[in-house]
């Protein structure tokens, strides 16, 4: 806070405040104050704490006023984009197959050949996934990383929806985008000491991570090139939740139960670790 050392009578202070209200240099002159006083007032205003709250559009509107109008378009554009993604996301094959328009009338049981739109959506969503996954790695601020992760998980859910795996997509939204992310951010908030927690790993840690990620990359590439990919015509039309549940409780009962027991052990272990301090 700047001080005016030579000013210590109340009369002068009152006049200063009055002039600050009037706030114009020539007005100050008309009141009989010199340029030095006006400069003092301006100095006080410049460094004043209340400057912290400055209008958001101030700087931008001067440079390019048309940008300001885009601000009100934001919600519309966002809503439309996301609605388009979700509406035509599941519409890839399962919804279209259920759509009496497409299947019954034309007598075509296959998916509607929505080629261009579907491809466009796929590249859009896949691109978002890649960019946001990179963002998770590149960002330094941990909360920003969590938000990038949120976008990555959400766009993976959209990819599932595009593949007509509705149940998987919805569960991905519910469990990862909703639940796990909230837990993650909650953990950051509870443990952070400063408002902007930064993530700065040691170089050795980076090396270890690079080795593991490289191995994973090699493995994934091997799996990708080694697999025989089937065309769309061989894929079952959509997955029903009932069939999924039946499979889980008959053919895949053992892995399902093992996963359940594993999660139970994790829960008990976490509770044990949390209680140990007492």
């Amino acid at each position: 806070m700047p001080y005016a050392n030579d000013v210590n009578n109340d009369l002068f202070l009152n006049r200063m405040i009055f002039n600050a209200m009037a706030n114009s240099t020539h007005r100050t002159r008309a009141e009989g104050l010199g340029l030095r006083d006006a400069a003092l007032i301006r100095c006080a205003q410049t460094f004043d704490h209340s400057r912290r709250l400055k209008p958001a559009a101030q700087g931008r509107a001067k440079i390019f006023p048309a940008l300001d109008c885009l601000r009100w378009l934001n919600p519309v554009v966002g809503l439309v984009c996301l609605a388009v993604l979700v509406v035509w996301g599941p519409g890839a094959s399962s919804v279209a197959a259920a759509d009496t328009l497409a299947s019954d009338v034309a007598g075509v049981t296959q998916a509607v050949p929505g080629g261009v739109l579907e491809a466009l959506l796929f590249y859009l969503v896949a691109g978002t996934t890649v960019i946001s996954s990179l963002g998770v790695c590149i960002a330094k601020n941990i909360v920003r990383m969590a938000v990038w992760l949120f976008v990555a998980l959400g766009s993976v859910a959209l990819l599932y929806l595009l593949l007509a795996a509705n149940f998987l997509g919805a569960i991905q939204l519910l469990v990862y985008s909703g639940g796990t992310l909230v837990l993650l951010i909650f953990g950051i908030m509870l443990t952070s000491k400063s408002p902007w927690v930064r993530f700065e790993p040691h170089r050795l840690e980076l090396l270890g991570a690079a080795v593991i990620c490289g191995a994973l990359l090699v493995g994934l590439c091997a799996a990708l090139t080694g697999t025989t990919w089937h065309g769309m015509e061989e894929v079952m039309p959509g997955t029903s939740v009932a069939a999924l549940g039946r499979r889980l409780l008959t053919v895949y009962l053992v892995p399902f139960e093992v996963a359940g027991v594993l999660l139970m052990i994790v829960m008990v272990g976490a509770a044990h670790l949390a209680r140990q301090e007492k």
């Binding site: 202070l13 912290r52 400055k54 809503l79 919804v95 959400g154 408002p195």
Partner: protein, 524 residues
């Protein structure tokens, strides 16, 4: 030594966005046109609007059915298979209007006389894109109307509960356009971002709250055929997008870099961790009873009147309904679980630093989620779009257009669904102005240590009940029947008590609320 500090800013010319002036201009114009009429004829206009909306929705359904059956159906069975296939493939313009007109003419009926005009009018409806855009427009309108009028209603109800009037001036009739005026104010308000905030996250957070709330409407069925996208996992989808909404709230609280906001965000995270599992468990109970995750299927399973509603199907569902309702209050941050924005402790919680339209987005999200949560309660437990009268009563009615409309009004139609949602909105408002806020540790205790074990037991019990009902034992069928009718009668008693108590309150309103309110109340 005196410090010189000037705590205010020089006045600056107000800068509006290029779009906010016309938006406000249109709103003020509409208000000026409508206000004198609403002041004079509030009742007829209200009734007319409701009837008009019902008619428009019904007309849409009839038109779609007509196009499906008479135009697309006729085209598919016509002798020329090429004509039937061509309109599904991309790059074509579908059946040309002349063909549509010819099909309308051959279908006969009163529409045949207007076939040349109708050919052009109905031509766009053969594409699912047109239908999707129309449906999106309708849902977007509803999504905007719900917060605007629920906020006004909330203020009125709050006024009555606190022995005052609530909004009375704007628009004339009981402040009907108070929310419109608030909207204009919010559009014109300055969009402040604190210097210390994380600017990008701060600006993005309202959309993370708003957009999921809007997305949930895409899968929410308003009637058997009135659903934008029929998803086989609609319930999980809606729960998932409601979970995303919480991320927006937390992001807002964190990015504000304000201790009250962060407290609000942490409370929201804490609360979500505790309520979401009991809520999901309680919702699984009707799912187990019906055997489907599709909201349309669950709704259709309750079409046989009051006693077929899932809440009365066995004692477990009856209690699960109450458990779900409590958890759902926590999910839309309503009292007594409104800890994230506890006005009396945290200034405004997670949206302390927000102003203008961004602030309004949080409220749009909150009220839309209130509607959705009420809609889930009514579909999963209270029969959805089915009325208390069994649909089988209307089986012998004739199949003319007017009788179909009457069936929609009496047995099952979107109007019943909306009425139930509005009832749940009212209950949420009522609870907010009645119950005190509980502490965060009490929220955690209530959700994790009471509701969670309770819903787990209920799920187990309900599963056993359903399993027992699968056997063909006549004795069990009798027990089932007796329990259902007993619970149904208890529910009926509650349902009748509600208007009775309301009538009591209205009759003794002078004693209850005093002279001031009594003079301005309708009917006094």
């Amino acid at each position: 030594m005196t410090q010189i500090s000037v705590p205010w800013q020089p006045t600056q010319p107000v800068r509006y966005g290029l779009l906010s002036r016309p938006i406000v201009g249109v709103a003020v114009f509409i208000y000026r046109m409508a206000a004198p009429f609403v002041r004079r004829f509030p009742g007829p206009i209200l009734i007319g609007a409701v009837v008009g909306v019902c008619l428009i929705v019904w007309l849409h359904a009839l038109t779609y059915a007509y196009v499906d059956a008479r135009i697309l159906g006729a085209a598919s069975v016509s002798a020329d298979p090429a004509a039937a296939i061509s309109w599904t493939s991309p790059g074509t313009w579908g059946l040309p209007p002349s063909t549509v007109a010819a099909l309308i003419e051959s279908a006969g009926g009163p529409a045949a006389a207007w076939s040349s005009i109708l050919g052009y009018l109905l031509w766009p409806l053969q594409f699912s894109l047109t239908r999707d855009l129309l449906g999106l427009g309708g849902l977007f309108g509803l999504f905007n109307l719900i917060p605007i009028y629920t906020i006004w209603w909330e203020r009125k109800v709050a006024g009555r509960i606190q022995s005052r009037l609530g909004p009375m001036r704007v628009g004339g009739w009981h402040g009907w356009s108070q929310s419109v005026a608030d909207g204009i104010k919010l559009i014109l308000k300055e969009d402040l971002i604190p210097d210390g905030a994380d600017r990008i996250l701060f600006r993005a957070a309202p959309y993370f709250a708003l957009v999921p709330a809007g997305l949930a409407f895409l899968a929410l069925p308003f009637g058997a055929a009135y659903v934008f996208r029929e998803l086989d996992v609609a319930l999980v989808f809606i729960l998932g997008v409601l979970g995303i909404e919480v991320v927006g709230i937390i992001m807002a609280g964190w990015a504000s870099n304000n201790k009250w906001s962060v407290y609000g965000a942490m409370r929201e995270a804490c609360q979500m961790v505790s309520y979401e599992i009991p809520m999901g468990m309680a919702l699984l109970i009707p799912v187990v009873s019906v055997g489907s995750l599709s909201l349309s299927v669950i709704g259709e399973a309750q079409s046989e009147g009051w006693f077929s509603w899932l809440v009365f199907s066995n004692p477990f569902t009856f209690v699960a309904f109450v458990a779900y309702f409590i958890a759902s209050l926590a999910s839309c941050k309503r009292a007594p679980f409104d800890l994230p924005e506890a006005e009396s402790e945290l200034v405004a919680g997670f949206h302390t630093e927000y102003s203008g339209l961004r602030w309004a987005f949080f409220f749009f999200a909150e009220y839309a989620v209130m509607f959705i949560v009420g809609g889930l309660a009514s579909i999963l437990f209270l029969g959805g779009w089915n009325s208390p009268f069994p649909a089988s009563w209307g089986a012998s009615w004739s199949d003319g257009i007017l009788m179909q409309g009457l069936k929609g009004l009496v047995f099952n139609g979107p109007i019943w669904f909306v009425a139930k949602c509005v009832f749940f909105l009212y209950v949420q408002i009522w609870l907010r102005w009645t119950l005190p806020r509980i502490r965060i540790d009490q929220v955690l205790y209530a959700c994790v240590q009471v509701l969670l074990p309770l819903t787990m037991l209920l799920l187990l019990g309900n599963t056993l009940w359903v399993w027992a009902s699968m056997s063909d034992s006549p004795a069990w069928a009798g027990v089932d029947r007796i329990v259902t009718y007993g619970l149904g009668l208890i529910g009926l008693a509650f349902a009748l008590m509600f208007p009775a108590i309301a009538a009591y309150g209205f009759y003794f309103r002078r004693r209850l609320v005093g002279n001031l309110v009594q003079d301005a109340m309708p009917g006094s």
